[in-house]
């Protein structure tokens, strides 16, 4: 890369934001165009598609090619960039008639319920008509062009990245408006006689000529910044300016005069409308039919589906996790006892937790599918009788709630993340508990009523996009064998007693796929669904009943929501300092006492007080006769997204900042076993905190989305109670206030410096 030309050629800079936006736009257009092309191939011909994509390509070239890199050094290059953005890209985009294809490219529900009311809003339609009035189009474009060519604003754009983007956006958007009457794009269509557009273009050319002449004939440098930058060509700053003016004059005039000439020819030959054969017609009567997409099934993906259906797939995944668990236990007991240098300190607390939330967000509860404790459970059933039924009074989530509180407290109080020995013991305890419980009791009592990890996964997977469910409900109606729940001679049915036709959402589903293998009609799949949608209604759920009648599930959800904030807050320096101050003030010898009080207050007392207050207030403001307990049970589910976002922001932080630790720790563990083939550990990796300036943005974005989804879910629940009538807002308001409070706490947490756990620099 040492030649001048090569360096210029390689000066591409793809702005990820703009690039992704262009890709999204292209994808949306192509999707809509394909549908419209099927309906009306003449009106939406290939020509439109080509023009639209050419327009996007020109935008990409203007802002990502070396033109952008050298725009601040040469005015002539900057002018080329502007000409592409104002005179080439906009007409091409408009020739693609983008309005209908872009709308049809949106998901039908988003179009109907999201964009629909806005599109049908008379005020917005009036504003659209005003904006596309040729006088407005012409004058705004001219004003914007002159404005940004004034030295003070032109130099502002050159000095500031932000204003440079604003300048380009203005040029592009107002050029779209300018070319709108010329191309006569939809949905406005023809509004003025065609001859007026010839005048319109001539007047624009006059403006362009005046501006270019000013640049060409000025004897001083209009933009002094070009005088201070290094000259990379033989052109002086003044010659560069003259060149830019000439370019603007030459190409600008052609861009206006050629369409004007074409329009004149068309008018003179009495062809007032563009011929249909060209694919650029303007009939406006194609109905906007909204079609429902077919149900998407993960099992229908060729290779993935085959792998997931493979009878031994789950066992293979469990075997891998089991081996990892054994390695973690062995290293926890016998390896180095510093958490950041031991697999038991790194794998479960940094990697596994982070990967679980990411998997949950993009897919579903795949950890339970690969649960390593299945081996212990199956062994228990072989060795022990496994004949008793789980006691009726214990068939709830209360045991799991207690275990989760204990776990969250012990995690901080005993620094489990920094104690390989304790971590190993916890895993061993897990194996023993699953072995004993499922060895004595029928079904999957351990998973359903005891396992705290399972409960965490069940609750968080309520917002996952995938769910195990029936493909065709009609087929289930004619089924008489119910093998999905009863099983058959070769395959057991659902151990968690989830009857597929009555199953709603992911609660209690371990993604074991037993029902998929057992169904003789091949009628169960891993289907996509709207995340959190299942939380907005209160239908009967197989083996769970209605959420509104389950205080144990509500408590579990609230515990996991508040637990997310408490668990993250315990890592913050201000919180640790506050606890130390309290400890000193009340002369408590051990920090454990303060921690116990803090955890009882924040995980049990505070959620209960807040939930009861919200329930009562909600009942009062919503003027509803339903009891506050039921309201708490119903609205608790709305907080799952917010809790998930906090867990996500927390765990992803550890995964991305401490992920490197796995390399030296694995080398150390291998070295302990006498395997030195891969080299010796480089412990400096543990101090390596990558500069991820986007990490905070990611955390904030997660919190934003979780908060908004919580508000939306809460609103839907309230609307369900009041059928959208009077009192809906009152019913919703207390829960919205609680969500706002938690969101503010979450924002405060992510802006605080966190302990770098799993790393040397604690």
């Amino acid at each position: 890369m040492n030649s001048f030309g090569e360096a210029i050629y390689q000066s591409w800079n793809v702005d990820r934001g703009v690039f992704i936006f262009l890709i999204l736009t292209a994808w949306c257009y192509a999707r809509g165009w394909r549908r419209l092309h099927r309906q009306s191939p003449q009106r939406f011909g290939v020509g439109r598609l080509v023009c639209f994509f050419a327009g996007l390509t020109v935008i990409f070239l203007a802002i990502a090619s070396p033109l952008d890199a050298f725009a601040s050094l040469l005015l002539i290059v900057h002018m080329t960039q502007h000409l592409l953005l104002t005179m080439v890209a906009p007409p091409l985009i408009l020739l693609g008639s983008p309005y209908l294809p872009l709308l049809r490219g949106l998901p039908p529900k988003v179009l109907k319920h999201g964009a629909g009311p806005f599109l049908a809003w008379p005020a917005l339609q009036r504003f659209g008509r005003f904006l596309t009035n040729p006088v407005v189009c012409w004058s705004t474009f001219v004003l914007v062009t002159v404005f940004w060519h004034l030295p003070v604003f032109y130099e502002l754009a050159l000095r500031s990245e932000f204003w440079h983007k604003v300048e380009h956006l203005c040029f592009f958007l107002f050029a779209i408006l300018f070319w709108w009457p010329v191309i006569q794009g939809e949905p406005v269509g023809i509004r003025w006689p065609r001859w007026t557009i010839i005048l319109y273009l001539f007047l624009a050319d006059l403006q362009n000529t005046a501006l270019s002449a000013f640049l060409c004939f000025s004897e001083r440098i209009i933009y002094p910044i070009y005088n201070s930058v290094p000259r990379i060509s033989r052109l002086t700053a003044l010659e560069d300016q003259i060149g830019a003016g000439a370019l603007m004059w030459f190409f600008g005039s052609r861009a206006y005069l050629i369409p004007a000439g074409l329009l004149t020819i068309v008018m003179l030959s009495s062809a007032h409308a563009v011929q249909p054969s060209s694919g650029f017609t303007h009939s406006r009567n194609v109905p906007l039919r909204l079609t429902r997409g077919k149900v998407w099934d993960l099992l229908s993906i060729p290779l993935v589906g085959a792998v997931l259906r493979w009878r031994h797939f789950r066992r293979a995944a469990q075997a891998i996790m089991f081996l990892l668990a054994m390695v973690v236990i062995a290293d926890g007991f016998f390896g180095h006892q510093m958490g950041s240098m031991n697999l038991a300190g790194v794998l479960p607390w940094t990697h596994w937790r982070g990967l679980v939330v990411i998997t949950m967000l993009v897919a579903g509860n795949f950890f339970c599918m690969a649960c390593p404790f299945m081996f212990a459970r199956d062994l228990g059933r072989l060795v022990l009788p496994a004949r008793w039924n789980w006691h009726r009074r214990l068939r709830s989530k209360w045991i799991a709630v207690v275990l989760l509180v204990l776990y969250l407290w012990a995690y901080e109080s005993f620094d489990l993340w920094d104690s390989p020995w304790w971590t190993a013991w916890i895993i061993v305890g897990y194996f023993v508990a699953s072995f004993v419980i499922d060895g004595l009791f029928k079904g999957a009592s351990f998973c359903k009523y005891v396992c705290p990890i399972g409960q965490f996964n069940f609750v968080q997977s309520l917002i996952s996009p995938l769910e195990v469910r029936v493909r065709d409900p009609d087929r289930c109606r004619s089924c008489t064998t119910y093998e999905c729940i009863r099983g058959n001679s070769t395959q057991r049915g659902c151990e968690l007693q989830l009857f597929q036709p009555k199953k709603e959402g992911n609660m209690d589903c371990t993604f074991c796929l037993d029902c998929i293998h057992a169904c003789p009609h091949n009628n169960v799949g891993i289907m996509a669904f709207v995340p959190a949608n299942q939380l907005t209604h209160d239908r009967y759920r197989s083996s769970l009943g209605r959420f509104s009648q389950r205080p144990d599930i509500a408590m579990l959800i609230l515990l996991l929501v508040f637990g997310a904030f408490v668990n993250a807050a315990e890592m913050l320096k201000p919180v640790i300092a506050w606890e130390e101050t309290l400890q000193a003030r009340f002369d408590l010898g051990s920090p454990r006492s303060i921690e116990i009080i803090f955890f009882i207050l924040s995980l049990l007392v505070l959620p209960l007080i807040l939930a009861v207050s919200c329930g009562m207030l909600s009942r009062f403001l919503g003027r509803i006769r339903i009891g506050w307990r039921e309201l708490i049970c119903s609205f608790a589910g709305a907080f799952v997204p917010l809790g998930f976002s906090m867990w996500g922001a927390h765990f992803v932080f550890h995964l991305l900042t401490g992920g490197y630790a796995i390399v030296p720790v694995t080398l150390r563990a291998a070295g302990d076993l006498g395997i030195s083939y891969f080299g010796t550990p480089d412990w400096s990796w543990l101090s390596l905190v990558p500069t991820l300036d986007w990490l905070l943005s990611l955390q904030l974005l997660l919190l934003d989305l979780g908060f908004l989804l919580t508000l939306y879910t809460g609103w839907r629940i309230a609307k369900g109670y009041r059928a959208g009538g009077k009192g809906t807002f009152g019913l919703f308001m207390p829960w919205a206030s609680l969500a706002i409070g938690l969101y503010i706490v979450g924002i405060w947490i992510v802006f605080q410096p966190m302990q770098m756990r799993g790393m040397m620099a604690h």
Binding site: M1, N2, F4, A7, I8, S11, N13, R16, G17, I20, L24, D68, A69, F70, S72, P107, P108, K109, V110, P117, F118, R159, S160, E161, V229, P230, I232, R292, G293, V295, W296, P465, P473, A528, F529, V530, Q534, T536, H537, D538, S548, I626, S634, T691, D693, W694, L696, S697, L698, L700, L701, L705, F707, L708, L711, Y712, I717, G720, A723, F751
Partner: protein, 188 residues
């Protein structure tokens, strides 16, 4: 009977569209993230331009104004005789404060958007006057220029992440408007 309204579409809500919406959301999220980058290797504005031996050395800095926190320093080296860019030199940047911290970084063309420049990405720990020394080594000859730059205090974090804090209120306002329009259109 269900207490809540039973959405007839709840079980068949067009999951294909849902996936598309999800893809849309993920890509939009990445777009937002990409927009939040505080520093890009753009070059910036000219801070210092000096001759040193056979070279003209120009130092660009970004962001504008230069603030404590992430920053980019780019250097263009030109031949004094014909002003051709020099593309095969080794460039080091040293920044220091009186009696304070010193930062040493290597400037490389790979880090620059404009491949005629040598760029270094670094972080100024504090505001104030910083001395800069640029060393250019070519053909075993070393040439240096020095200068002084003023670093402004860091941007208040709320301003840096304004988009993340503005997203919920803007979405809520749009949602309220959407609901109002729906109700109005239903009544009309």
């Amino acid at each position: 009977m269900d207490r809540f309204s039973t959405d007839a579409d709840a079980r068949n809500d067009g999951p294909l569209s849902v996936l598309h919406a999800l893809l849309f959301f993920v890509l939009a999220a990445v777009t937002l993230l990409a927009q939040s980058y505080p520093v890009r290797a753009d070059g910036g504005v000219v801070q210092i331009q000096r001759s040193a031996g056979p070279f003209i050395i120009t130092v660009f800095t970004a962001p504008i104004p230069l603030r404590a926190g992430p920053a980019e320093i780019s250097i263009m080296i030109q031949d004094n005789k014909n002003q051709n860019p020099v593309l095969d030199a080794k460039v080091a940047v040293m920044l220091g404060r009186d009696g304070g911290e010193t930062i040493k970084v290597e400037a490389r063309r790979e880090q620059s958007k404009n491949k005629l420049l040598y760029a270094a990405l670094l972080s100024f720990p504090e505001a104030g006057r910083w001395e800069i020394e640029v060393t250019v080594v070519k053909n075993f000859e070393e040439h240096k220029i020095t200068g002084v730059m003023t670093i402004a205090p860091p941007r208040y974090f709320l301003l840096t992440y304004w988009w993340a804090l503005a997203l919920p209120p803007v979405t809520i306002v749009l949602f309220v408007l959407n609901q109002w329009l729906k109700r109005r259109q239903k009544a009309g």
